[in-house]
Amino acid sequence: MTPAQLYALVGIGLFFVGLYALGVRRHLLPRILALNIMGSGVFVVLVALARRSSEVDPVPHAMVITGIVVAVSATALALRLMLRVAHATGSAQLTDTGDD
């Protein structure tokens, strides 16, 4: 196994660790962090797989930088929204509102 493949596997591992946490945690903060971990996992995969041959392809690196910008904005929105939800409902969890 080449180091690049190892990194890619680690990235996929991170993705699924995040997915698991997103599924089992109820509090919004760990769930938002879980999405960030999934994102980091995807970025690791992108950077690792950029090494397709002996030369390193710069395009995935540019993608990861764009992806980080997107992730930061999304996280900022998510954190702010979490605070508003906590303020409005008294709990930072998504209670089942039902379909009344």
């Binding site: 890619a8 995807v42 797989l49 997107v70 999304a74 929204l81 509102t97």
Partner: protein, 486 residues
């Protein structure tokens, strides 16, 4: 590359709403004027682009002259033009409505986000590489979530949060699929990936990840759990935008992937998606019938109507571009009719102060235009002639009968009957119920006209079917790999 006339540039479709969004953010008044002007300008630009498309055929534009892979290429063909036109028309209706709907305080939040959403959707429909699609998809999602949360009430905030987590999960899944494909192909260009042999396990894993991500965003049963809450708790123009436009975005990308990137794999899961689509039609309609609140009813109707797009997928393998045309017709008809319905439901809510269907006032005398809008939009949703909804469903019914696919024909007919039940449940109370429960409030004229115009558009689509199908066929978007011909 053809000579570009200076006024009709695809990049303006992104720049204009983006600049408008910043202006609406900075201005201290007249936000609505700027917003409506920008959206009207957007419609004009789309008209110009379609004129040019019909004259010269599809074309590609490298932004700033950089070109792929590091630059961004914009691409326009009949399919993207149709989606852009749908977005521009519905946006204008929603904007006219919003200009009267929002208070000055709410307008400060609405217009910047709304124009940003428009810029993001335009950019998405013009993108043809998987990574740009990811970025624009995220922009659409973030703007849509912020718009949902804008109302600030408890139910809207909770629904927005659930929507945000879902849409981010969908994006992550999609992006991991893109990463896997990039490793095999070394490009994110759709056509190039479609033409390059990818090891089957990688292709299957990538397609599964991307498809699940997009289905989450398109809210196909059983991934629809976030939709009714978000679409019903947002303010009326936002609900209209979410149901009419935003959910179509994920489906559009899926459609492009289906045709360009994974035609062989896609045919294998067509049966599964068709089945889920059928369940969505029936289950969504039943839920709509059971709802007690008008906006929830309309939101569940969206779950059902989205189902039709997927229900038709098993017909594609044998029916080809004709079935795609029918699906896109349904997408257009639903966009017009559903935007009209949500805005009309917003009028009922604004008028009566609540949207409990049972207690709805007899509004037909006092808001005849709203009642007409609901009725006409309902005709298209039910799939009665003449309407866009009818044309789309009729073409699908023909294809399913020709192919002897009885289950699909049955769901098409049954779905229409169930839609009639929930549409009439809503209409019945508007026309007959009596006792008003509070002092009704007047609704602005434009808020009545905007949904009516869109509903008339949904009906008119039934007469313009051939025109739309002709436009759709420019550049043969339903034939894989046709991009080399521009």
């Amino acid at each position: 590359m053809s000579i570009v006339s200076p006024l009709v540039q695809p990049v303006l479709l992104i720049a204009l709403p983006l600049v408008g969004s910043i202006m609406a953010f900075l201005l201290s008044s007249r936000r609505a004027t700027v917003g409506v002007a920008v959206v009207a300008g957007n419609l004009g630009l789309v008209g110009g682009l379609i004129g040019r498309l019909c004259a010269t055929g599809p074309w590609q534009h490298s932004v700033g002259g950089w070109g792929a892979p590091l630059g961004i290429d914009l691409y326009l063909d009949g399919l993207s033009a149709t989606m852009l036109a749908m977005t521009a028309l519905v946006s204008l209706g929603i904007s006219a409505y919003s200009a009267a709907y929002f208070s000055a305080t709410a307008a400060r939040h609405f217009w910047p986000l709304w124009l940003l959403l428009l810029a993001a959707m335009n950019a998405l429909f013009l993108s043809r590489d998987l990574f740009n699609l990811y970025v624009t998809l995220e922009l659409v999602g973030i703007a849509a979530v912020a718009l949902t949360a804008m109302r600030g009430q408890r139910d809207a905030l909770v629904a927005a949060m659930r929507y945000l987590l879902t849409t981010l999960l969908g994006s992550m899944s999609y992006l991991l699929g893109v990463a896997l494909l990039y490793h095999s192909v070394g490009s994110v260009d759709m056509v190039l990936i479609g033409e390059t042999p990818v090891p089957p396990p990688v292709a299957a894993a990538a397609f599964a990840l991307m498809a699940v991500g997009l289905l989450l965003k398109t809210a196909l049963f059983p991934f629809h759990f976030w939709l009714p809450g978000a679409h019903s708790s947002a303010s009326a123009p936002v609900s209209a935008a979410l149901s009419a436009l935003v959910v179509k975005v994920g489906f559009y990308i899926l459609l492009r992937l289906w045709i360009e990137v994974f035609p062989a794999l896609a045919d294998e899961i067509a049966g599964l998606l068709g089945f889920l689509g059928g369940v969505a039609v029936l289950w969504g309609s039943l839920q709509a019938i059971l709802q007690q609140r008008a906006k929830m009813l309309v939101a569940y109707s969206t779950v059902a109507q989205l189902g039709y797009f997927f229900l038709a997928l098993p017909l594609v393998a044998a029916g080809g571009s004709r079935v795609w045309g029918a699906i896109v017709l349904l997408v257009l008809a639903h966009a017009l009719a559903k935007a009209a319905m949500f805005m009309a439901a917003g009028n009922l809510l604004a008028f009566a102060g609540h949207d409990r269907i049972r207690d709805l006032d007899r509004v037909v005398q006092r808001m005849p235009l709203t009642a007409a809008a609901l009725g006409l939009a309902g005709v298209s949703i039910m799939g009665l002639p003449p309407s866009g909804g009818f044309s789309g469903k009729w073409l699908l019914l023909q294809a399913s009968l020709e192919q002897g696919n009885w289950p699909i024909a049955l769901v098409l007919l049954l779905g229409g009957v169930l839609a009639a039940v929930y549409v009439f449940k809503l209409l019945e109370h508007i026309f007959t119920s009596g006792t008003p429960t509070g002092e009704p409030r007047a609704v602005a004229r434009t808020m009545e006209w905007a949904p009516l115009m869109l509903a008339i558009g949904a009906i008119a689509l039934g007469f313009l079917t051939t025109t739309v199908l002709d436009l759709l066929a420019v550049g043969e978007p339903f034939v894989p790999g046709r991009r080399d011909d521009y």
